[in-house]
Subunit: 321 residues, 2 copies
Amino acid sequence: MAIRPAEQLIHKAAWLYYAHGLRQDEVASQLNISRASVAMYLRKARETGIVNISTSTQLFTDDVTARQLEDAFGLDAVWIAPENAYLADPSTDIAVLAASVFLELVKKGDRIGVAWGRTVYTIADIMSFADLQDVTVVQLCGNLGAPYSYRPDQCTMEIARRLNAKGLNFYAPLVLSTEELAKSLRAEPVIRDQLAGIADCDLALYSVGAVDADSHLVKCGALSPAEMEALRSQGAAGVIAGQIIDAKGEVLDCSYNRRVISAELASLRAIEKRLMVVQEDTKFEPLLSAIAGGLCTHLVIGAHMAERLLDHADEAGKKAS
Amino acid sequence: MAIRPAEQLIHKAAWLYYAHGLRQDEVASQLNISRASVAMYLRKARETGIVNISTSTQLFTDDVTARQLEDAFGLDAVWIAPENAYLADPSTDIAVLAASVFLELVKKGDRIGVAWGRTVYTIADIMSFADLQDVTVVQLCGNLGAPYSYRPDQCTMEIARRLNAKGLNFYAPLVLSTEELAKSLRAEPVIRDQLAGIADCDLALYSVGAVDADSHLVKCGALSPAEMEALRSQGAAGVIAGQIIDAKGEVLDCSYNRRVISAELASLRAIEKRLMVVQEDTKFEPLLSAIAGGLCTHLVIGAHMAERLLDHADEAGKKAS
DNA sequence: GGGCAAATTTGACTTTTGTCGAGAGCCGTG
DNA sequence: CACGGCTCTCGACAAAAGTCAAATTTGCCC
C-alpha cells in the first residue's frame, strides 16, 4: 500500500513533532506550512494511528483482587476497572480499559476473532486508531437480519477500521428457521472455511450475554421472551457468540443452538488469548459459566463483579475443604 | 512487581488524561491535586514508559529505494532517513529513526542482543522509554577496560533501563592479550552460558565498524593504528560486535579475533531479526561485508548510503547479466 | 518533640497548542 | 469562462499545557 501524497505531510509532521520533539511552529517552518495546518495534521496523525499513544494497563492488573482472581479461576490475566472512583459512567471505564487491553494484546500479523453485542460495540467505538495492516479481524458468528445497532458485521468492521486491518465478514444469518438449513449452510465452502479459520485466531474479543428478556437475542427477534425463559429452565446459563451455553460452559443441547451459524466452542477454546469483557453486574452467572467452560483466559471486569467472583471462589473453596 | 504508591498517582493521572481524554484540570480535580502536579505526573508517565507515544516508521520503508534495496540484497526491511531535509544533523535523524524502528520490532518477552559503539549508544540515548518488563537485553560482546563512553555494558544497560527490561551484562574483557587466556575464559561457565544464550535472542541491534584509525577498536586501545592497517591488508573489511570480518562477512582468521570474547557470527545469524544501523557514509564497504555475511535482516541507513548501495547492486547486476 | 534537609505541591506566569471562520485554490459543469 | 461547491490553508483568538520559584509537607535524625 503506497502512501498517498496527502499522507506524506501528515507523516512528516508527526515524525518531526513526536519523534524529534520539535514544537509545532518549528515543524511548520520546516515544512513551509502554517502552524495551524501542523496542528491539524497532527490530529489526523493521531486519528489514523500514524501516531500511537497508549497507556499501560498495569495499574489494573497489579492489584491484589486481580491476582487472587487469576489464581482462583486459573486465568492468564485479569483487569479490574475501579467502579466508584474516576468517572460518571462506570461501564465506559470498563470499555476504555478493555480497548487498551485489547490493543496491548494485539500483535502484528495476528488474526482476531470478534463477537458482537453492546459491550463489544462500545469497545470498538472508543478504541483508538492503530496502524496494523497485517492484522485480520474475523467475525465469530453469523449476522442478524434486523436493523440492529450492534450487528456482528458492524462490530467486526469497526474494529478492523480502527486497526487499519482487514475485516473478514460472514455472510450468513446468525439463526435459521430449520436445523436442516443451518446444517446445509454450514457445509457451504464459504461458510465452512470461515468457521474453520476461527480456530487459527490468535486473539478473541467477546462478552457474554445473559439469558433473560433483555438479551440481544430477544431484542433482535432471534428468540421470543417465552422461548428464552424455556431455555433457561432447560439449563441455559449464558450466551456466547450467539450460542446458548449451560452452567458448565458447554453448548446447550437445544434446537436453537442447532439452528445457529457460529464458531464452535472448541474453535474458540483453541484461540490462545480469549479476552472476555463484562460490563454489567447482572451477568454474574453467565460469566461464571463462560469461565467454567474455559472460554476466557483474559478478563476485564468492574470492581463490583470482581468482588462477587472472588466471594464465589472463596465459598467454593470452603465447601471443598 | 507491585506498584509503588507514588506510581499509583502517575498511573491514574495518565489513565484519565490519555485513555479517557480528560483535560489536565479535570484530572486534577478528580485526583484532588493541582493541575501543575498533574502536568508533572504526566511528564513522569511519559518518561517512564507508562505512556507510550510511538510514530509509525512506514514513511521511511514505503519508498521505492527502500523496496529496491530489500529486493537487491534480500533484506526483510529497509528504512531510509532522508538526509537533506528536516534537521541540522542527519545522523541524529538516522538514530531517531533507528530507535523508533527498534521499538517497533521489540515484542513482549523478547530477548535482545545489543552490541556497542557510538551509533548504538546514540540510539540508546535518544530512545524513548517503554514498559517492557519481561524483556531481557543481553550484551553481545565483552567489555572494554578503558573509560570509554560507549562501552558495551553501558549500551546494554542504557537500553535495558529505557525499556524497563532486565539487562544481562558480560563481565569479561573484549580483548585479551593471549589466545590461550581467551580460550580458557570462553570455557568459563558464566561466560559460556552467556555466549550460548545469544543465539536465543529474538532481535539484535548493532552497527558495523570501519577498519581504519578512527575505529573504536583503535580509539580504545584494543588495536594500534598500525595493527589495524595490517589487518586491513589481510582482508579486514569491517567490525561487528568487536570482531573483524572480511569482505564476505566471515570472521577474519587472525590472532586478534582469537583473542576476542564476543558472540559467534553463527549465533548472530541465528537471531531472527538483525537490525543494523549505519550512520556514517564512510562505512560503505563494512556494510556491504556485513550484508554479504548475512548479518543483517533489517537495515536503517541514510539516503546517501541507500543510493550508493543501490548503485552498487545495479553494477553487480549488470556484470552478472 | 524540635529542627533540618529533601521531596512534593502549588499559584502565577509564559509558552505552546487547539479551534474556527474567512479566504484562497481547485475542480467539473453548464 | 463564469459559477457554485468542494477542500485545503491560514491568521487571530481562546484554551490548555509547561515552568519555576516559593510554600508546604514529609521523613528522619538527634
